[in-house]
Symmetry: none
Subunit: 225 residues, 2 copies
DNA sequence: ATATTGAGTTCACAATTTGTTAATATGTGA
DNA sequence: TCACATATTAACAAATTGTGAACTCAATAT
């Protein structure tokens, strides 16, 4: 079987690492392992994996720290990072996802679930960068031409406005939390005031002239037609 | 074999504990034991098990009390709690399920049945923790879209209302204590009056227009269709 | 070099929605 | 029936978002 992808597993418990390695190797993935935070960063840089599984609790930098460090580097911008967390530890989930992880898997890990989740992740990775035109009703958004059309009439949007609209329209109906929007459009580390999003939303609504963005108070915004 | 999960057994009869421990250890579970109510609470907090087996009749806080206390803490939100009851004692069943238990097993325990029930429970636990759409009859609750539908007709719920409905509907039939609801939706430290919950419940009932939340006097609320 | 323009942001305040409380009514079980 | 818990209602408080105007900063034009 040909190699489906390269995965880095970082966990200080050898047993866990072995279970995961065994199951994923069997599925055709190439596996690299690390047993502490610093090691994980080293190995990540060396082997440039497609996906990184990070235990939260590790000696010498925990998973969250490792994730932050890696995410700060352009080389790992698109690398999928998955956290391993104790089932109960909810704060880690939140913290993890806020830190730029793509998903988390709860321990104890069931091999079956692990494998299916990893498969799913790779499916997402391989799905070509969806720079594709979105068409919903009389609205058309073309990320290549950087252009939006309402009733075939072009609407000029500023960069941020366009990105925001594209983000929301990419998953119609789904609510994007303000945090999520900030991370997606502005980046993890940029700090902008709370009203900023509102102002851009308003401009989009204004310019498009159609009511396609719904406010979900206390939660975020969603695209609806 | 790798550890499938951690189970806490609380029963004051050493024989019972040993039978259960033996059988579940053989199946690859990690076992923690307690022999009275207070001890059970202690051990639960310390070892954070995935599943707790509680005898109803125990010295120093009975099973129901232990369950109530644990359920009031967010850390045990997703912990599966199973009661051990004497076969005859039907009122315990009722009381138990009303208190937030997920299942009960009748004594005397047949090892075979015990193991299969526990397996089943763990299958449920491992079902991905992802927020997923709840569909019950003509009601649909989508946490991603933050939207509820009755007969395919969207109903607009405020944040708290939605969270509350989602909580109740996530385990249909299970009673949520007022305490539990407070901890889940408002958080440990926030203090709000008792009537607040009622008001939100009422709004949900009103907005949905269907009778799906049942009041359990003196205990809490449960979702029923 | 200086003015102009527009994106992006921030701010203060208005508008609105949501959440909470308190007071009263209603219902239910011992 | 009498307590007690919940339902209901409306008034109030708090939180969140919308809005218009001003400001910063580059890029571009004059």
């Amino acid at each position: 079987m040909n190699v489906k992808g390269k995965i880095l597993i970082a966990d200080d418990e050898p047993d866990i690492v072995e279970i995961i390695r065994y199951n994923l190797t069997k599925e055709g993935y190439e596996i690299v392992t690390a047993n502490n935070g610093d090691d994980a960063i080293q190995k990540a840089k060396l082997s440039q994996p497609d996906l990184i599984i990070l235990d939260i609790m590790m000696p010498r930098k925990n998973g969250v720290e490792v994730c932050e460090i890696l995410r700060a580097q352009p080389a790992f911008k698109d690398t999928v990072i998955v956290f391993l967390t104790a089932l109960s530890d909810e704060s880690s989930h939140v913290k993890g996802l806020e830190t730029g992880a793509d998903d988390y898997i709860s321990k104890p890990v069931s091999p079956k679930i692990l494998v299916s989740r990893i498969h799913a992740m790779f499916r997402r990775i391989n799905k070509e960068p969806e720079e594709k035109v979105i068409k919903i009703d009389n609205l058309e958004i073309d990320p290549v031409k950087f252009e939006a059309k309402v009733d075939s009439k072009a609407v000029v949007l500023a960069k941020k406005e366009f990105e925001l609209l594209y983000l929301l329209a990419s998953k119609p109906g789904r609510v994007f939390l303000r945090n999520e929007i900030l991370n997606q459009i502005w980046g993890n580390d940029v700090i902008v005031g709370d009203r900023t999003i509102d102002v851009h939303i308003r401009k989009i609504r204004q310019k498009l002239g159609i009511d396609c963005i719904t406010t979900v108070k206390g939660v975020g915004y969603k695209f609806t037609m």
